[in-house]
Symmetry: D2
Subunit: 134 residues, 4 copies
Amino acid sequence: MPFSTRISVSFGDTDPAGLVYFPNIFHYCHIAMERFFESICGVHYSRLIEEQHVGFPTVKIDGEFNSPLRYGDVVNLEVSVLEVGNKSLTLGYTISNSSGVACANVKQIVVAMDVRSHQSVAIPAAIRVRLIKI
Amino acid sequence: MPFSTRISVSFGDTDPAGLVYFPNIFHYCHIAMERFFESICGVHYSRLIEEQHVGFPTVKIDGEFNSPLRYGDVVNLEVSVLEVGNKSLTLGYTISNSSGVACANVKQIVVAMDVRSHQSVAIPAAIRVRLIKI
Amino acid sequence: MPFSTRISVSFGDTDPAGLVYFPNIFHYCHIAMERFFESICGVHYSRLIEEQHVGFPTVKIDGEFNSPLRYGDVVNLEVSVLEVGNKSLTLGYTISNSSGVACANVKQIVVAMDVRSHQSVAIPAAIRVRLIKI
Amino acid sequence: MPFSTRISVSFGDTDPAGLVYFPNIFHYCHIAMERFFESICGVHYSRLIEEQHVGFPTVKIDGEFNSPLRYGDVVNLEVSVLEVGNKSLTLGYTISNSSGVACANVKQIVVAMDVRSHQSVAIPAAIRVRLIKI
């Protein structure tokens, strides 16, 4: 079962056309990923960075925006695990507006990185086991 | 010849790892696109929206981030026109850091839209002719 | 009784020092104000703008930041009404971190504005009555 | 003579009313401060942080916004040194739009901080001497 989370579009996220500025849709995805780590992997992303010195920077991301997200929308982001590699993780996001219309699809590849050395590392075992299970 | 422009990474664009937060790389692309419109198409993007009521929202964007951009980098964005459709425009971005290393590649499809009705429209002729020439 | 709301600090809100970049603290205040309007004034800020064509731009804001907000904090924002004028509204924000430490204080004056003409207007009566009651 | 610098308002900086979202005006101030450090103090703010481990977080900031900044504006920020303490620095910003109208005034107190320990420190002597001279 995929993980899902909601984000309310705030005034500052939108542009002169009244629509969410698209880089903010990727910001929403990152927030959803942070919540996914906390909920599914059992560790707050901030602790992962501070205590285990591991982060998951994005190396590839593709987005399709079919319908605009508007100011006032409560956006639903459904996060699914598409692939778990040794060092990399592929996540999919289905993004819907308040009416349940799927407005955007995003596919993201992140790589486990030591935040001190900026070198890629294996996904920590405790996280890996949770990623494979869902 | 592709159009190119420079953006200095500011403190607020970076994350706890000292690297540009990836949604901000897409924000840089949008700034580069705005400058591209002004320089190549002869119209400031703000006037296009206010006077001609035409904007170019992004419908598809793919990014590959091979090397991080860091605080202190002066980023170079090279913008090239990959395809000009009736209503859509495909742009490519090659993004390099201060040392000239190509750190990211982005491919973006935007669609001409009437910002009042939110309906897609043909690319205005005056812009189209410039897009085809370069 | 003041209104209060919570915002989780996200990765993208923080800077290379691991602290919330201060303009984002003001962004948090604006989000809190939007929720305040919905909860206390009975109208979503987006509907206020779209249907009544009234917004509340900030004309003066003072912030004191005593302790940093960090990545991982769940920030509590307590919003109080300090003054209700004919056209203007003064709000106070007490901003605490996860440990309950008051990290920041903000005082903001906003003015009711017709978003079409950009002229100031009287605070709509239905909102005014609610602002005075709390 | 005060230091001044220009920032073009980008599409993503503006809100549904077509005006710069006010937290972004503070972001502009921070960018101006970074350029001020590079130009007046002879050190890039990123090197100050990375090599000398000193940053200047904001502890107090007051802003007055008299006229809106709009999409398309090239904003001029004039930065002046109002006070140099042992550990703190007070900066003033006069912010004008493309027509030269003073739209905003900001007064900011920053404190020198060791970015590793998050403790306040004396302003580095090499910077102090330049701050006093201008």
